[in-house]
Symmetry: C2
Subunit: 452 residues, 2 copies
Amino acid sequence: MRLIAARWVVPVSAPPIADGAVAVDGGGRIAWVGPRADAPAGDVEELGDAILLPGLVNAHTHLELTTMRGLLEDADFFAWIRTLTRARAEVLTDDDLRDAARLGVLEGLAAGVTTYADTSASGAPLDALLECGARGIVYQEVFGPDAAQRDDAMRGLRERVAALRARATPLVRVGVSPHAVYSVHEELLLDACAFALGAGLPVAMHVSESAAEIAFLREGTGPFADFLRGRGIAVGRRAHSPVHLLAELGIAATARPLLIHGVRFDDSDVQLAAHYDCPVAHCPASNAKLGHGVAPLRALLDAGVRVGLGTDSVASNNRLDLLDEARTAVLQQRGALARADALSAAEAVALATIGGARALGLDAEVGTLEVGKAADLAAWRLDGPRGVGADDPAAALAFALAGRPAAHVEVAGRVLVRDGGPPHPDAAAILARGDAAARGVSDWRRAAGGGR
Amino acid sequence: MRLIAARWVVPVSAPPIADGAVAVDGGGRIAWVGPRADAPAGDVEELGDAILLPGLVNAHTHLELTTMRGLLEDADFFAWIRTLTRARAEVLTDDDLRDAARLGVLEGLAAGVTTYADTSASGAPLDALLECGARGIVYQEVFGPDAAQRDDAMRGLRERVAALRARATPLVRVGVSPHAVYSVHEELLLDACAFALGAGLPVAMHVSESAAEIAFLREGTGPFADFLRGRGIAVGRRAHSPVHLLAELGIAATARPLLIHGVRFDDSDVQLAAHYDCPVAHCPASNAKLGHGVAPLRALLDAGVRVGLGTDSVASNNRLDLLDEARTAVLQQRGALARADALSAAEAVALATIGGARALGLDAEVGTLEVGKAADLAAWRLDGPRGVGADDPAAALAFALAGRPAAHVEVAGRVLVRDGGPPHPDAAAILARGDAAARGVSDWRRAAGGGR
């Protein structure tokens, strides 16, 4: 039995414990949580002046894009997504995507993220997560706005999912992600969800991210509509919003997809998400940075929707730091609603842990420090001036420590970060390869005339 | 001549320079800025894979409150300011305030902040800034909502300012701060500003921070009005807003005070600030965290108002990190306006440097890397995954590196942080005293029945 002790233990499912400890059994499960003075015997790992909590759950990433940080700073959303798609098609090799995914997991682990819900075209993140010992769900993306692409797209999806499932483990699972309403034809959307349901795989989809997406669906207008029409694809009015479409198609009730973003949700979208128990991956920094706006997080929580926090990719964020996302969520909701009680620090810490676990259906395994759950843990040290005044550990995490690297990280009882050290023995090599790939894509963009 | 070289030099007044260098002369002034290959001879300090820029300017702090981090997480604004005032009166000793101010400068220097515009009741921050080698303006606060307090308050102000001026230097100057419209009677406000003008001292004032402040001034209602009436002080309608009051009293035109916050500014306030050239200290994290809302930063900039960024105190923020404030400003404006072009990374970096310098009237001395200015410098390393993809140094600073400690900091050519080390030889002792004072105030709050 290992004991991990810290000045504060934050179980999330119970109030913070001063001078607490967590016991981890040989199977990598939590065997005990409580005040250190009452702890069972075991080898003690002393974290000292630190806050220990459940490992963070990142409910939305694109790890294979981690070499595209800072690449698209000046683009509007349509240009952003087009450049990104072109980069993926024209310049990023399979090796680049693998290096990017490894780099992303490295960054996430250093920030205390133990679970990743990743949507991926290449599948590379699955290998990166396995290799780094992290937990996650890799949703295989499928694209195809043209009805004629339907059969090819489904064949490709089945092959890719089969290949991923052959490598999947209890720690890293597989899902399906029809990308978005403007990039996936309605028939393909139905097929992909039926396939996922039949195979028992979870579904995730980008919804209500941009004004352009709403205009496309509601009015058949805007840049996405123009782009598709230019390729000879018919576009018309389809639904009030992506969530309405999912409800009308029966997908909301059956596949209950993870709704990624939802920044442009209106009240009816919030109510539908609650009615069908479709969870939401809330990405406050990405939504703000790309100018999409502020998602109605408070309304979603009040309606009882399961919500997790996501970083999105570094192409839109530019960091994979979930505690920082918790802080951004608080500042964003309090600022937008002009209410100090719009979101508390404790709620934000819960969103970053059990909220994400619930949204992903992993809450029986992770998200809180409770006996029997997997020992996915993360700790932050209260070093330096910022650690002074940590009387309220949730406030210390969400406001003072957010953005800092984690000092200790483990997944299923396997220690990945010790004393703030690198999360992988090959960290330096992964970093160097990621850097080279990032320079490559940056050179391509400059050569392609996009300037910077 | 010293040469400081880095992968990127960001002069702010000119485009970023790849593989750049800055030359610092023996008098602590910038002697040259340009590509390293063209640099004059000198002792080279190699920062390597880092971004070097002007030291950051924090346009609003209360350094003497640095031991109150996390203390007031659950209070509404009126309770927050009352508890804070009581703590200052009942429990914090002069030693505590001094320790808190030192702790704050330590935290700020570690975050690359070289200039501090501090509003202080005790004057302790002046000594802390001097002791730590930082630059700043310490605005002596004056309070007195009752007309009967006017003469006593002015006598106190004159004495305190005289004592501060006796210790002031070209690096650390003195100003005057009538606290706010709800805590300073109109006659005292006029006296204090007349005194400052006569003495050639800059003026700063909290304005339009809260809905309660606007209700107090516009309608004579709300918690501030009730509190003053309870003390037998007459309260009535006075003006549309604090800025309108300052204009009507002639203060906006003469003292041109630094307007702290302005979160509740309407269009007429923005236009008056521009008309009278009153600068604004914009505190995005504090404004959001306390639930005041989002200041109209874009409108202020479009109107030509001089704007700097401020952290406010850790009692409301809870960090003294100005690069992080730049990121928060971008995310907040883009989120609130739902426009990706609401504020660029380069604009945010400019706000954190030359913007603050202009707002404080220090732009002849600091805020850009230009020959003849003081060598106030800060650098961040592009270490680790977050440093990958730093093709656009402003985006790297504002989005990826914000919140990280600075690797190198100097003020007037005196190196205060080297290789990310502690910014003061006595850092450990300052930290320990700050921690003890923070625990004291926290115990007081618990004993006073406020809970946590």
